[in-house]
């Protein structure tokens, strides 16, 4: 069983996304611990990228703040190494293909294994290109997470059959960010997923309220929330951990 499966062993999973180094790594560490203490089941850690093409304005802002603060891939690796001394929940990295490729794919993925990163989410690495990193991910026991989008249609079965860790179902068209309404027929997507794989699936993009999270988790195995948490960091900066903790609790309780 992949370590990620543990995140889905205690009922519906709540998965917060946090950009490393926004506004600094000490705050990120405090935010992660606050999220874990309040029921987060899996932590999605963003490694910032200069040109995050799948992100809306909120997460773009977090990327910019983090990079301006001087965070680098190496500093994030050190940060996770430190975090792993007491944080045991599964953790995955979310970043862009060039961050992995440019570091040296093997060096990057081997380091993930060494520091206790369980999976890798790369929004610009679709099914057709996954061979770029998949053999190395298998070699080092890091799950390469696949994404399914509202436009995937005839591709859902193909993606689900080869998926590892968990499946990330993108709730809506467009980039990340909060939405008042999610219109995609997610039940139909999840049905095809279930017919083709036993691994869990979680829904992300556009979720911010406990009601939305509850609805999404009822359709799947969990809810992923990014922009709403980043908004708290944007607003409260170094004082954000307490607010994030409170928010995570309200979300986890709703699931």
């Amino acid at each position: 069983m992949s370590n990620i499966a543990k995140a889905f062993a205690n009922g519906k999973a709540f998965i917060p996304f946090i950009t490393c180094g926004d506004p600094d790594l000490a705050t990120t560490a405090a935010v992660v611990r606050a999220a874990v203490e309040n029921g987060a089941d899996l932590i999605e850690l963003g490694i910032p990228f200069s040109d995050p093409t799948a992100e809306g304005p909120v997460i773009q802002g977090a990327n910019l703040r983090a990079l301006n603060g001087g965070v680098t891939t190496d500093r994030i690796f050190d940060f996770v190494r430190e975090l792993r001394k007491d944080v045991t929940v599964p953790m995955v990295f979310m970043t862009y293909a060039n961050v992995v490729f440019s570091y040296g794919a093997e060096r990057f993925i081997a380091t993930c294994q060494e520091i206790g990163i369980d999976g890798l989410i790369l929004p610009d690495l679709p099914f057709e290109e996954k061979e770029e990193f998949l053999p190395l991910c298998r070699q080092y026991g890091v799950d390469l997470i696949s994404l399914i989008a509202p436009t995937s249609e005839n591709r859902i079965a193909m993606i689900a059959r080869e998926a590892e860790g968990f499946l990330y179902i993108v709730s809506s068209l467009g980039v990340t960010g909060m939405r008042s309404e999610i219109k995609t027929d997610l039940a139909a997507i999840v049905k095809v997923v279930r017919e083709n794989t036993d691994i869990p699936c979680a829904i992300g993009f556009g979720i911010s309220t406990p009601e939305q999270a509850q609805k999404m988790a009822a359709l799947s195995d969990g809810a992923i929330v990014g922009s709403a948490i980043i908004k708290l960091l944007e607003k409260y900066g170094k004082d954000a951990p307490a607010y994030v903790g409170e928010y995570v609790k309200s979300m986890k309780d709703a699931l």
Partner: protein
């Protein structure tokens, strides 16, 4: 030259969000069908000839030839096309294809504004909606083109993220495409991005080298010794090179924007200073730091101010079939003024990069050698910026 999976050697590919995968697959299928459809090709040729004014002239630059005292110089006059640049070739092809696919809305990125103007033009002609993303910095540098696009009925969205230049306009257009796919075609302006764009754009621009070859055989009875073009993403260059790739006697030379010099950080010369990476849907060479963060590039030319290069150029560089040389702002501005005074032709500052290199190369060649320089666009749009570069306080 393209492998079935959209690779040029190790370059190319489809590194894009899953949300866009079915859109690019649908585009590839439609393109593979229509490129062999006689009706489609007849319509496109009609548009090229009657609307865009093709074939463009291959002009013997006699004064420049005599002045430089070496190889005979011909100018491929893409600046004489409707809308004033080579961009119209690709746009008419893609707009027609989009229309056949049932799309009613075109979105595009633009740097200098030439591709945006061409897209707005095709949209007006074909009765389609049009939204153009342009870096805020470029909307200031190229204010006249912003007005032209609006006049043509397009909406221009200033992009404020990142460096607010071409790369950010591409990112924003990609983001827009993920949010609205069913009625929208992303009319990418260069031989870059995910497969099949580098192939589609190349094929529509290849009309340039097809004509050069025919015109050269007619005028000189032989092939040229060198073809020179400027390279940002690389669409006019690949268009100028394509039908000569198998003609090994023809040197193919791409001129990159070196900005203030390849030994400074203010440069956009990707092949000279970049390294292999994955960005904007493709594997190719990119200007980036050691952690893969894309570098904020610089060139006086908004159209060459891009941190990457099309995957087929990266491949032609790898196999040594084409040469890529850096040209500085100073050299390009010098060539801009030189061509104006010598031949009475004001080239786009982008194209002036190619003219600048030809000024160095021609004197080193024999008098019976022939160089073709592609003048990819006209320079009216650049006059105010060049005047300011020379210290004149001229504003549009």
């Amino acid at each position: 030259m393209t492998n079935p999976n959209g690779r040029f050697g190790i370059h190319g590919g489809q590194y894009i969000p899953e949300t866009l995968m079915n859109a690019v697959i649908e585009l590839e299928e439609a393109y593979n069908y229509y490129k062999n459809d006689p009706q489609f090709n007849a319509e496109l040729t009609e548009l090229f000839n009657e609307y865009a004014g093709r074939p463009s002239r291959l002009y013997y630059a006699e004064k420049m030839t005599k002045d430089l005292g070496g190889a005979k110089i011909y100018l491929k006059r893409e600046d004489l096309n409707h809308t004033g640049a080579h961009k119209i070739n690709n746009v008419l092809g893609q707009a027609l294809l989009a229309k056949k696919m049932g799309k009613t809305r075109l979105i595009a990125e633009t740097g200098a504004g030439q591709h945006g103007v061409a897209t707005a033009t095709a949209a007006a002609l074909m009765g389609m909606e049009c939204v153009v993303f342009m870096g805020e910095e470029d909307t200031i540098r190229q204010a006249l083109n912003v007005y032209r696009m609006r006049l043509l009925g397009a909406e221009v969205v200033p992009v404020k993220t990142g460096t607010a230049t071409l790369k950010d306009a591409v990112s924003e257009a990609m983001r827009e495409w993920t949010s609205r796919i069913s009625d929208t075609h992303y009319c990418l302006g260069s031989v870059m991005g995910p497969h099949p764009f580098p192939t589609i754009v190349r094929d529509f621009q290849a009309v340039i080298s097809k004509e050069i070859k025919e015109q050269m055989l007619q005028k000189e009875g032989r092939l040229p010794d060198a073809v020179i073009a400027c390279v940002g993403g690389g669409s006019n260059a690949i268009g100028s090179f394509y039908h000569f790739i198998e003609e090994k006697s023809v040197r193919l030379i791409g001129c990159e924007a070196a900005g203030r010099g390849v030994d400074t950080f203010e440069t956009a010369a990707t092949i000279a200073t970049g390294r292999l990476g994955i960005f904007h849907g493709m594997k190719s060479y990119f200007c980036q730091d050691k952690y893969g963060q894309i570098a904020p590039v610089y060139s006086i030319s908004a159209g060459l101010d891009y941190p990457g290069v099309g995957p087929e150029h990266a491949y032609l560089h790898d196999i040594g079939r084409a040469e890529y040389v850096p040209v500085t702002d100073e050299e390009a501005v010098g060539a801009f003024e030189y061509l104006a005074k010598t031949e009475g032709i004001i080239p786009a500052i982008e194209s002036a990069h190619a003219v600048a290199y030809a000024r160095k190369l021609a004197p080193t060649m024999e008098k019976d050698n022939i160089i073709v320089i592609t003048i990819s666009g006209r320079g009216d749009k650049d006059c105010a910026a060049i005047a300011r570069y020379r210290g004149e306080d001229l504003h549009e």
